[in-house]
């Protein structure tokens, strides 16, 4: 009997290949989106871990001093006076080759390395260690990188380090075995002697850190105690893995956001599966009735339907995995670029295909499909022997269920809202809340469709006459199909609207912030990109150069800032030390704290913190924050919280003089130059450049250029979000197409009757088109509240929990109008084929069975 059932099911689907294809495609698209995002995230994360691993090596602890570094004297003391054997000095930074390739420069002492970075198989490829140690600019790169750069051992390599052009010499390459799986990512590593790295990075006298092997044994703990006691102020002993994790955590919110968006696409896919399976069941109600009559049990029928769902979802999922692996390669580039823009320099050279991600994608695809098939399976179970599950009966049951479904929707929405309002809940819960609210909207959709159609019937009648009214009523009478189709489309469009509004709000906020936070005419920066945790303070602008700029005839005033990383009990923090006049201060806007009082306290040594840091660390005016200075850990009063969208990490801001007292660092990272109105900024920029020094790589930009560039980076950052949104729409579109096709095919007989009663093919075409248009309109209208709700949740809750920024929610009529247009357009396009097919129906054919 089961063989018979299987054959029956197979024949049904071979007779309806479109239906099967669309179902498989829906699952595939949903799974592909989830898998590709997962792959992109995983690849970026593992590239980051590998790059951390390759520079951290086996070190259990690190001695760090923020970006001002660790005095090299500390290393000598450890090694010579304290007899600490398992310690290795590290000088870290970035070098950009003439061709624009970014290398992580790792300066090491080969004599101290054996215990730490064993992968550096320097033995191979003719390395001359004498040259490595004695020649200025001597570096070692991977054999592959040397090939890419077109250099061999002994060749010179033009590059930029610390903002200055440099000539390097490749004195060797990593041994071939070093590029095996144990040490991926070596292709972006450039190795040099400590001395060479100090000279290239202009950090003579200091180390980025000292690596330490002090495992959790009595001896290791004793060593840690001894070392910690011997460290000077501003220098600390920290656990190595904790540092790597802190950095990995920085991107966590970003990754979770992507993951959640990808799940939304899968959710749209689930609607599609539900629709397809339901349709496949209803279409065969007569067959199932007969099967029941010949003795097939309900259990067997249910198994058949779930089996069908399983096969469809397995096929779709496998197809989706392949598609996802392909999409992942594209996404990983977008994700990496965003991480580079927002967090730290990261190069992903390999897309990893972790079995976990693939299994997860498969499980999600199959699981969601089976869940979606539960309801239709239940429908089939209720089929009475001999009788077909009557279409009319189904519809009336749906209408009876409608209040319950709507109540469920309200309940789910309320639960979601409650989850979102829960104080102190995490990001994951926020996404649960978002999903619940969206599902709530989806459950409310059928009732809303009924109400909307009641409203639209007169309008449709006015526009299309009797046919229009018929179309509107048809939507309601076939609610079991139309409700789901409209809900799926509504979801997709709501996601579009929500994401659009969120990005618009974000962009608008950032744009407004840029417009008031860049009051000066020219901005001069020392040219070194901020590179996250590995950022050295970098060479800055000398006080003498600052004085020369201030003395230029066309300069009214100069403000300056020094950006460094400092250690704190919370891990490394970005510190901005400002020298500001009244005009410069107007560029700051306070999220908390009163401006005038805050600035007075600032002058007296208090600090300001930017919003993301304040949010993450739970800081507000009056709180205190601890920072490691050269004189040990000092506590500072927080005078205010400022809006700042420049960095997701956030920053601590301090008065310049105070910083120089505590850290003894007179340099500046950037200057802002005020010119009198009408000044020739281009000429002034040239003069500023010359007065700072011709050999320095400086970036001198006007406020407009910075603003444009910032917005460009912003748009690039959200490109990946846009791509995901698009994918969700594609999934939904396929869903609507399949729902409408199913719906119209199902109504074959009804439409045959209409044809028989005199409706022309043209009229029938108009009827079907009006109906799909009405459904699209309903979806579009309903997506507005859902989309606005989603945008609100993303802006107010998710963004805040992810990044800590306050964004102004801006709802533009254009975004809403385009949502309605998108929905109607999608529905009409999706309805084209069914309408065409229906209009060609021969009434005799359709009615033959009656």
């Amino acid at each position: 009997m089961s063989g018979l059932l299987r054959r029956a099911s197979r024949r049904h689907f071979t007779r309806h290949p479109w239906q099967l294809g669309l179902a498989v495609l829906g699952v595939a698209l949903g799974v592909a989106v989830v898998v590709s995002v997962d792959l992109a995230n995983q690849s970026a994360l593992s590239a980051f871990r590998a790059s951390s691993e390759r520079v951290t090596g086996r070190a259990t602890h690190q001695i760090v001093g923020g970006s001002v570094g660790v005095p090299e004297e500390t290393y000598r003391r450890l090694r010579r006076d304290l007899g600490v054997r398992a310690a290795a000095p590290v000088v870290e930074g970035w070098v950009v080759s003439g061709s624009g390739r970014v290398f992580q420069l790792l300066g090491v002492d080969p004599f101290a390395e054996s215990a730490f970075r064993g992968y550096v198989g320097l033995r191979g490829e003719g390395l001359d260690l004498g040259a490595f140690l004695t020649r200025p600019g001597a570096v070692v790169v991977s054999a592959a990188a040397a090939r890419d750069l077109g250099v061999g051992i002994g060749d010179r390599l033009e590059a930029t380090a610390a903002g200055r052009p440099r000539t390097l010499e490749v004195v060797g390459t990593f041994a071939r075995e070093a590029s095996d799986a144990r040490a991926p990512g070596l292709d972006d590593l450039m190795l040099a002697d400590v001395a060479t790295a100090q000279e290239l990075l202009e950090s003579v006298g200091s180390l980025s850190r000292i690596d330490l092997l002090a495992p959790d044994t009595p001896t290791g703990r004793e060593l840690r105690r001894r070392v910690a006691a011997a460290l000077p102020g501003g220098v600390e002993l920290v656990a190595a893995d904790a540092r790597t994790e802190t950095a990995a955590q920085m991107t966590r919110a970003f990754r979770i956001n992507l993951q959640a968006l990808s799940l939304l696409a899968l959710l749209c896919g689930a609607f599609l599966i539900y629709n397809t399976i339901t349709f496949a069941v209803v279409q065969r109600r007569r067959l199932f009735g007969i099967l029941r009559a010949v003795g097939v049990t309900r259990r067997q029928l249910a198994r058949l339907i779930l089996g069908e769902a399983l096969v469809v979802s397995l096929a779709g999922s496998v197809f989706g995995l392949a598609l996802g692996a392909f999409l992942g390669r594209i996404l990983v580039r977008l994700v990496t670029r965003t991480i580079n823009d927002l967090y730290f320099v990261l190069t992903v050279r390999e897309v990893t295909l972790p079995a976990g991600s693939l299994l997860e994608g498969l499980a999600l695809g199959v699981g969601v499909s089976l869940l979606a098939a539960l309801a239709p399976a239940g429908e089939a179970l209720s089929a009475e022997a001999g009788s077909a599950l009557d279409r009319a009966e189904l519809e009336s049951r749906v209408h009876r269920l409608l209040p319950w479904v709507s109540a469920g929707g309200l309940l789910l929405g309320a639960a979601g809202a409650a989850l979102l309002l829960l104080p102190g809940a995490g990001l994951g819960l926020a996404f649960f809340g978002l999903f619940a609210v969206l599902l709530g909207f989806a459950l409310l959709t059928p009732a809303a469709v009924v109400a909307l159609m009641a409203l639209l019937t007169p309008l449709a009648g006015l526009l299309f006459g009797r046919l229009g009214r018929m179309a509107a009523r048809g939507v309601v009478t076939a609610l079991s199909r139309t409700g789901v189709a409209v809900a799926a489309l509504m979801m997709a469009v709501a996601v579009t609207v929500g994401v659009d509004l969120m990005i618009d709000s974000f962009r608008g906020t950032v744009d407004r912030w840029l417009s008031y936070s860049l009051p000066a005419d020219l901005y001069v920066s020392a040219g070194v990109r901020p590179v996250g945790r590995y950022a050295g303070a970098g060479p800055g602008i000398e006080p003498a150069a600052l004085a020369r700029v201030a003395a230029l005839p066309g300069v009214e005033a100069v403000n300056s800032v020094r950006q460094v990383e400092v250690e704190s009990p919370r891990g490394p923090l970005r510190l901005l030390a400002y020298d500001l006049d009244a005009r410069g201060r107007e560029a700051f806007s306070f999220a908390a704290g009163e401006a005038e009082r805050a600035w007075t306290a600032f002058d007296d040594g208090a600090v300001l913190v930017s919003e993301p840091l304040a949010f993450r660390a739970g800081l507000g005016p009056g709180d205190r924050i601890e920072l490691s200075t050269f004189d040990g850990v000092r506590s500072f009063e927080v005078a205010g919280v400022t809006y700042d969208y420049a960095s997701e990490r956030g920053a601590v801001m301090m008065e310049g003089r105070r910083y120089r007292e505590l850290w003894d660092d007179p340099q500046r990272t950037a200057l802002s130059v005020y010119a009198p109105p009408g000044a020739d900024l281009r000429q002034l920029a040239g003069e500023v450049r010359r007065s700072i020094g011709p050999d320095r790589q400086l970036r001198v930009r006007s406020n407009r250029e910075i603003r444009e560039e910032s917005l460009r980076v912003f748009d690039r950052t959200f490109l990946v979000t846009g791509v995901l949104r698009l994918l969700a729409v594609v999934v939904a579109f396929v869903g609507v197409l399949s729902a409408l096709t199913a719906l119209q095919l199902e109504r074959e007989r009804e439409l045959g009757v209409l044809r028989a009663t005199g409706l022309t093919p043209g009229q029938l075409w108009r009827l079907v088109t009006a109906q799909t248009g009405l459904m699209g309109l309903a979806a579009g209208l309903l997506s507005i509240p859902a989309g606005v709700a989603m945008a609100t949740i993303m802006v107010r809750v998710i963004n805040r929990r992810s990044f800590g920024w306050t964004l102004e929610l801006g709802v533009t009529p254009a975004a809403l109008a385009s949502a309605v247009l998108l929905a109607v357009g999608a529905a009409l396009v999706a309805g084209l084929y069914p309408a065409f097919k229906m209009s060609r129906t021969s009434p005799a054919e359709a009615l033959r069975a009656e």
């Binding site: 290393y75 010579r80 080969p110 992968y119 004498g130 140690l133 004695t134 400590v194 001395a195």
Partner: protein
């Protein structure tokens, strides 16, 4: 004496590379056998001597000035070995050696304090005559930032906390080294003036001019101090020997290694002899030594005046075989000595693989003199098995 990394500037450097390659182990595994060993002969055979100072003719030695470094020569070492006893009669041997290797004859001017013109290697070993256990250690550091170097006056050389200091008032040397459970802190006072080896301190190592070293020895130094081992601190006393040598030279074609003997006899005489071995198992006639009388007067020994027979061999786990007992005859001096290692396994298996061990001397022949000493054996781990099999039991 000729010590180890006698030439190519990359010798200890190449060694450091191998350390880097030895991934996995938190420290170079001291007993890994060949993996960590460099073929010494190969390292010493080719050498870029361009631009370095050479030992071409005899020079005037001035003390204590010459205890300090001689920049310009590619290689220089301070080699201290000694035999010590605790009051309870427990027998120990120790070795503390510092090697300076110049990387380039004309170092460029550089801004970083880490920029080094020389690298340093040091070996420290203690052997316990009672247990036969040997504790060898090896360290490398650059000659910069105070991590390793030579300074003075008062003259001193150091690598991290290992140190050899000249004490000007007593004209003595203080030797300190420690690693983990093993530590040494002794003062050695010369009992005889420095002995200039070879031709007034110019010691040829091959036939090519300049392939020679400046070489002097302090053959007998009364030594006193403390030795820390296995959680115990021993008061120790005995005799030490210091070899000082600097050169820009290399092993010549056909030479595979050397055997070096430094013996302190109970009658007050000290004997040094180095035998340069050739690939065919024969002794290079250029091999030489010296015999120092109790009053400090010394005379050179040529290779045909000294006869050495191995009487017992010891084989390491991986099959590398060293002689560990010898018959040493100097008929002209009336010496016929039985020399035997106080422990068989005194092999260094770090970057360089060689045997450096404390020995006992039992008198044979007419006078029956006894004594103690140190022996160094190099170039054994690199000879392939066939060549070794072909060697006659007696050279």
């Amino acid at each position: 004496m000729i010590a180890l990394p006698a030439s190519r500037p990359v010798a200890p450097l190449g060694a450091a590379l191998l350390l880097l390659a030895a991934c996995g182990a938190p420290a170079p595994e001291p007993r890994t056998g060949r993996a960590g060993a460099l073929p010494v002969a190969e390292l010493l055979s080719s050498a870029d001597t361009e631009g370095f100072a050479r030992a071409v003719e005899p020079r005037e030695f001035v003390f204590p000035g010459d205890h300090g470094p001689h920049p310009g020569f590619r290689t220089e070492w301070w080699y201290v070995t000694g035999n010590l006893r605790s009051p309870g009669g427990r027998r120990f041997g120790y070795q503390v050696t510092f090697f300076r290797n110049e990387l380039t004859p004309d170092p460029p001017r550089r801004a970083s304090a880490w920029a080094a013109a020389a690298t340093w290697m040091a070996h420290f070993a203690v052997v316990d005559g009672r247990t036969g256990r040997f504790h060898p250690f090896e360290r490398f550091a650059r000659g910069a930032l105070g991590l390793a170097g030579a300074a003075g006056p008062p003259r001193e050389v150091w690598l991290e906390e290992w140190r050899l200091e000249h004490l000007p008032e007593a004209d003595a040397f203080r030797v300190t080294a420690a690693d983990g459970e093993v530590g040494l802190d002794v003062t050695a006072t010369p009992a005889k003036p420095p002995v200039l080896q070879g031709d007034r301190g110019l010691s040829p190592k091959g036939r090519a001019p300049g392939n020679a070293s400046y070489y002097y020895s302090l053959t007998r130094m009364a030594t006193r101090g403390t030795l820390r081992l296995g959680g115990r601190v021993f008061e120790v006393a005995g005799a030490s020997w210091m070899d000082r040598e600097w050169s820009t030279s290399a092993l010549e074609e056909g030479q595979v290694g050397w055997d070096w003997f430094a013996l302190q006899l109970a009658d007050g005489r000290d004997l040094m002899f180095y035998r340069l071995r050739r690939a065919d198992g024969t002794t290079d006639p250029i091999s030489a030594g010296s015999l120092v009388e109790a009053d400090g007067s010394a005379r050179e020994l040529t290779s045909d005046e000294v006869r050495i027979f191995a009487t017992r061999r010891w084989t390491a786990e991986d099959g590398v075989t060293y002689p560990v007992a010898w018959r040493l005859e100097v008929p002209a001096a009336g010496l016929d000595l039985a020399v035997e290692a106080i422990a068989d396994d005194q092999e260094h298996r770090h970057t360089f693989r060689y045997w450096e061990g404390a020995v006992d001397v039992a008198g044979g022949g007419d006078e029956g003199v006894e004594g103690v000493g140190y022996v160094e054996l190099t170039g054994y781990a690199d000879v392939d098995v066939r060549a070794r099999a072909d060697q006659s039991p007696i050279w």
